[in-house]
Amino acid sequence: MLQGVSVSLGPNELVHISGPNGTGKTTLLRVVTGLLRPEQGSVTWHGQSIVRDRLEYQRAMAYAAHEPALKGDLTAVENLRFSVGLKRRAPLKELQSALEVTGVGACADLPARVLSAGQRRRVSLARVLAMRATLWLLDEPYANLDAAGSDLVSRLLQSHVLAGGLALVVAHRDLTLDCAVRRLELQS
């Protein structure tokens, strides 16, 4: 599906992956996460193949797929606790403040199934934030969000990159951020 794709990412850098539908943007992101293995080539982190030290790489990375990946029967804060808690010990207050930053603090104790698509997206962004990962891999983070939500995503991305983080973002819209943004356009 993907051929001849090469991308490198350093601190304070964001790569914006764009391209028409079906060109393999999500596939590329899944390859970078390690969920998919490339037939040829490799993904390296700090110069080492991610296969060699898979768990260490996973701890340094936060992935938000196109689906918000929330359990409907758990509350927003429980969803965060059970996913962020596997990567780092995060106190409850920190999880609640991550939800507040993404504008869903009032929904912390509501089951995820009663939240709107936009609110669920915000909870998934709060998870990324609470993981405090160096590398953010985001698949369509602007999906289902209103104008204020889109501004929030841009602000979060910008502050993450300016703080020394790395981000690989799949998005159909243009990213106008006050930080280094490189664009990788995939062709069919």
Binding site: Q58, R59, E67, G72, L74, S83
Partner: protein, 226 residues
């Protein structure tokens, strides 16, 4: 501060138990199935108590295996459908820890629950109380082994449409020894003879699956996630 494997195991176990108790319908379904199937036999054979007692071990074990299978399908499928399985796979903990916690949680809410209600069913089937200890022990070992076997099957059939049928086709043949030795142990206990051999065999199968199945199920999940 990174999280250790034991801490991660407890967290996933807690998550699974909480999810199970938030969906009481799914929790009770296998238990109700077990009770209904096993109580149908005494109703049908009410005038032939000796025949019922002879059939009791087989009825008990077949019902236990089938009701355990009912809930196995959703062991990983729900997580795969809502995307949380990917998050678990990328949690930095390794899928083996996740598989162990999820399978143990499955056994606690389905297998152990069956074991706990089995004395009621045993009484209805005419099993003497002296045989209850062997029946409980063998059912406990058998359902735990079935959960481990089921974890492999559930991992392999996540992406398959009508995967529950395929899951039954994969797991039931592997569960044959459980049925033979489990029913045999209960049968011997009813007859008043020693069931130690059959129970030891069930314990050996349980240890074998506990040791190998988490790795096999984790590998199956990794393949199906690709």
């Amino acid at each position: 501060m990174s999280v250790g494997a034991w801490e991660a195991f407890l967290l996933v176990l807690q998550r699974e138990l909480r999810l199970s108790f938030r969906r009481p319908d799914q929790l009770l379904q296998p238990l109700v199935f077990f009770l209904i199937v096993t109580t149908l036999f005494p109703l049908g054979l009410s005038v032939q108590l000796s025949l019922l007692r002879d059939m009791a071990p087989a009825v008990l074990w077949v019902a236990a295996l089938l009701s355990s299978l009912l809930s196995l399908d959703s062991l990983f499928k729900n997580d795969a459908d809502d995307g949380t399985l990917e998050q678990l796979a990328l949690s930095g903990q390794g899928l083996t820890v996740v598989v162990v916690a999820k399978t143990l949680a499955h056994w606690l809410v389905s297998g152990l629950a069956l074991v706990l209600v089995s004395p009621i069913v045993g009484t209805a089937l005419g099993i003497p109380t002296a045989a209850f200890a062997t029946m409980l022990l063998s059912l406990g070992l058998g359902t735990l082994t079935l959960s481990w076997l089921g974890a492999i099957g559930a991992g392999l059939t996540i992406g398959v449409r009508r995967g529950n049928v395929l899951l039954s086709l994969i797991v039931l043949p592997l569960a044959m020894p459980l049925l033979i030795f489990g029913a045999g142990a209960t049968d011997r206990a009813i007859a008043g003879s020693s069931a130690a051999g059959a129970v030891y065999f069930l314990a050996a199968l349980c240890v074998l699956t506990c040791t190998l199945a988490p790795f096999a199920a984790a590998a199956a999940l990794r393949i199906t996630l690709e």
